[in-house]
């Protein structure tokens, strides 16, 4: 983690040189990385109401066997599709990358703004357009009941003749274009605009995580764009990419989708690695253990993430050699991931740990990510996966890593950086309550789904045999507890903005040694206009 001895004087000298945009233009026309970051966070919160609302409808439907209030099972499929697309593309990505990335890349590398501020703005507005389009797909044309994976033949013209799938396809196209532009902006900023003296090996780990994530976005999303284009022309212009009657192959869609989709899951979790590294270091009051190992673990996870895609497709009929390769390649990812887990533990070891809410969330993240990681190694084994494919075991696995571990990283970042973003402190007592309620809630919600999956309950069904009733009721109860936690978070957010005590520039003490803590709270409209100079050796090499 970089820099402990920045010459951080004079940062705010220019905070008042006037003619800042004001009123609605400030937000609609923004070219300011902090305002755009805030817009992304607001968009993620708005989208989360829809995405979480849909998941609550599903859990209430599944609380007991039989159909409760969902009459048309296609509608259940629409709910789960919209839930997946919204949570992935319009909650987790905008919050972790658009929100925290925009806010803190310039602040932490010591430059005044992003490389391409206008392009930054269109990235945000295109994401908003994507959200409008995906919402439209749920209400016009009967809804897309394809799952977020949009597999043909279910997604083709025969089974989804309405407008919905086309709206969903264009939503992903637009959100993807937004992400590619954002990735170009992030990489250019990090490569070209680091403060004097901040070498790559002095960058905070959050910056490393953003750099790796941006490369994954840049290289994975165009492949999705190609796949979506082919699906669109198959549906509307008579091409045969995924159409066996014309010599095409639905399995080809799965290859393209997962060639994008597997990097995509790392796009959602690598930013979390970055945030958790900052927070664990800050509240252990120690530099991160094994800084270089941590940085290059993310790089190698990103790299290997591009060559493991077919482990999502073990049941399509690969030969043994293909399965053997994808098993081994997938298991190899456990090595850099293990480096990260043990380095976080070693960072805490012997540290003077303060259990503030962000630290609780970071430790919660590590626990949840280990649980989801272990079931990931289980699923990477093709023979095991043949049995678990499309069961609730898979649901439990990816909700542990993505839904709750990635959400935990969002909570970690919100509590950690809220004082910097808003200038106010959250209520520590309420924050800790919110952590424990959520921790109990999500584990009661998702842990029993392992049992359901091992017992054979398939995913994507609105009704199920009575044998699965018990754990489903427990799981739905956990969903209600989690909802209470989520609502309490929104209360805490409102309470902080309204009543929070004024935050000092650095509320976290000596452990918080990255550049964002050298500027005032809230961070002034423009920061680092006098570039800070970094002179410290990278932490970790001199301790």
């Amino acid at each position: 983690m970089a820099d402990t001895h920045a010459h951080a004087h004079g940062h705010n000298d220019h905070a008042d040189h006037g003619h800042h945009p004001t009123g609605w233009r400030r937000w609609m026309y923004s070219t300011n990385h902090k305002d755009i970051g805030t817009l992304y966070l607001v968009l993620a919160i708005v989208a989360s109401f829809v995405g979480v609302g849909f998941s609550m409808m599903m859990r209430l439907e599944l609380a007991e066997p039989g159909l409760q209030f969902i009459r048309d099972q296609h509608f259940y499929n629409v709910l789960l599709t919209a839930h997946g697309l919204i949570m992935v593309f319009f909650v987790v990505m905008p919050a972790l990358i658009g929100g925290f990335g925009n806010w803190f890349i310039p602040l932490m590398i010591g430059c005044p703004d992003m490389a391409f501020p206008r392009m930054n703005n269109i990235s945000f507005w295109l994401t908003a357009v994507g959200l409008i389009l995906v919402a439209t797909s749920t209400v016009i044309g009967g809804g897309a009941g394809t799952g977020w994976t949009v597999y043909p033949p279910l997604s083709n013209h025969t089974f989804h003749p309405g407008m919905s799938v086309d709206f969903a396809i264009l939503s992903l196209h637009v959100a993807g274009a937004a992400s590619i532009l954002g990735a170009i902006n992030f990489i250019t900023t990090i490569v070209n605009m680091r403060a004097p003296g901040m070498t790559f090996h002095r960058m905070p780990l959050f910056i490393w995580s953003m750099l790796v994530t941006a490369f994954l976005l840049l290289l994975a999303l165009p492949v999705l764009a190609g796949a979506l284009t082919m699906l669109l022309t198959d549906r509307n212009f008579g091409t045969a990419f995924f159409e066996p009657s014309g010599g095409g192959d639905p399995i080809f869609w799965q290859h393209l989708f997962w060639f994008f989709g597997h990097p995509e899951v790392y796009i959602m979790i690598i930013p979390a690695f970055g945030i958790v590294s900052q927070v664990v270091s800050t509240f252990s009051k120690k530099p991160v253990f094994g800084y270089l190992g941590m940085a290059y673990a993310m790089v190698s996870i990103g790299f290997v993430g591009f060559v493991v895609w077919a482990h999502h497709m073990f049941t399509v009929g690969f030969n043994v050699e293909t399965r053997a390769y994808f098993i081994i390649a997938t298991m190899i990812i456990a090595v850099p991931t293990g480096i990260k887990i043990f380095s976080w533990l070693a960072t805490m070891w012997g540290g003077s740990i303060e259990f503030k809410t962000p630290m609780l969330y970071a430790m919660g993240f590590i626990f949840l990510f280990v649980v989801g990681g272990v079931t990931g190694v289980t699923l990477s084994n093709a023979p095991v996966d043949m049995a678990f494919h499309d069961t609730y075991f898979v649901i439990a696995h990816f909700h542990y890593v993505l839904s709750i571990a990635a959400m935990y990283a969002i909570f970690t970042g919100m509590y950690y950086w809220l004082p910097k973003m808003s200038g106010r402190m959250y209520n520590e007592k309420l924050g800790q309550w919110q952590f424990w309620i959520t921790f109990v809630g999500v584990n009661v919600l998702f842990f029993p789904q392992h049992f359901l999956g091992m017992a054979g309950m398939p995913r994507r069904i609105a009704d199920y045999p009575d044998a699965f009733a018990g754990w489903n009721m427990v799981s739905s109860g956990g969903a209600v507890i989690s909802l209470v936690g989520a609502l309490l978070f929104f209360y805490i957010l409102w309470d902080t903005l309204r009543n929070g005590a004024k935050a000092p520039a650095n509320p976290w003490g000596v452990g918080a040694n990255t550049l964002e803590w050298t500027v005032d709270s809230p961070a002034p409209f423009h920061t680092h206009e006098v570039l800070p100079v970094i002179t410290a050796e990278p932490a970790g090499s001199h301790h």
Partner: protein
């Protein structure tokens, strides 16, 4: 934002702009217009979206050009950033074509194929490598040379030569597009249409997206031609030209892959389970 007199860093902070919001609304109109067009045939929404998008692009790049020419905003550091940005954009474009080449190989390689050992499917007569595609290959390769001649002239301060050779490159791009349009017209009428199965699907989308990129690259070169005439570029400051040249080389390389794999190998019997029916 600090005025230039106060500026204490080499970066370019843009003023607030309505263009991103305007452009995003244009994208929304285009997307909704496209869905409506595909389901009802009503095309005016789609056309309106495209018109708005083109207006946005024109306004946006006029703004960028004015910033490039004001002598203040585009410092050396900013120029490096623009170069990195263009390279990354081209990298993302490469991955877009990667998907279509994947489709091509997934369908055509016997070990993967799904077309009963026949390539092309359904006894389609494939597009051969000689004739039209050979001519187009020569045109694009020549255009890569002419754009390099222009670049060298520009670096050496010979603006007139640079202008002329940039114009010649753009003309070659236009000729390529005319010939490709003729090729498509001929194919549709005599050999295969878009709806005739997997070979036409991969053929038309891969070569069609390439053709669209030639159109974009040619437009970029035409803009550079007029900017050269207007004296916007100097031997040391010509990022716009550099980006156009890089983009042109990228389009050229994609074409070479298309020519070798789709036109030449795709029309030969080599590597397929069954000799072609000619």
């Amino acid at each position: 934002m600090a005025t230039q007199a106060q500026k204490t860093h080499p970066y370019h902070l843009s003023e607030p702009s309505a263009l991103p919001l305007f452009g995003s609304i244009a994208v929304l109109v285009t997307a909704v217009g496209a869905v409506v067009f595909m389901h009802t045939g009503f095309y005016l929404g789609l056309v309106a979206g495209f018109v708005l998008l083109i207006l946005m692009f024109i306004a946006w790049w006029r703004l960028v050009i004015s910033e490039a020419n004001n002598g203040v905003d585009h410092t050396e550091v900013v120029k490096t950033g623009l170069r990195i940005g263009m390279l990354l954009f081209i990298a993302s474009e490469v991955m877009f074509f990667f998907a279509f080449f994947w489709g091509w190989f997934h369908s055509s390689l016997p070990i993967l194929n799904n077309v009963a050992g026949m390539w092309p499917n359904n006894d389609i007569e494939p597009m051969g490598a000689s004739g039209i595609p050979m001519v187009n290959t020569l045109i694009l390769l020549t255009s890569s040379v002419t754009v390099t001649v222009a670049h060298h002239a520009l670096v050496e301060g010979d603006r007139k030569t640079a202008t002329n050779w940039t114009g010649i490159t753009a003309v070659l791009g236009v000729i390529f597009l005319i010939i490709q349009a003729y090729e498509y017209w001929h194919l549709v009428n005599h050999q295969f249409g878009l709806k005739d199965g997997i070979y036409p699907s991969t053929f038309y989308l891969a070569t069609g997206f390439h053709g669209f990129h030639v159109l974009v690259g040619t437009t970029f070169l035409i803009v550079c031609y007029f900017r050269l005439r207007a004296g916007h570029f100097t031997p040391s400051a010509h990022i716009g030209f550099e980006a156009a040249a890089w983009y042109w080389h990228f389009v050229d390389v994609v074409w070479l892959f298309l020519y070798i794999n789709v036109y030449w190998w795709g029309s030969s019997a080599f590597g397929h389970l069954k000799p072609l029916v000619q």
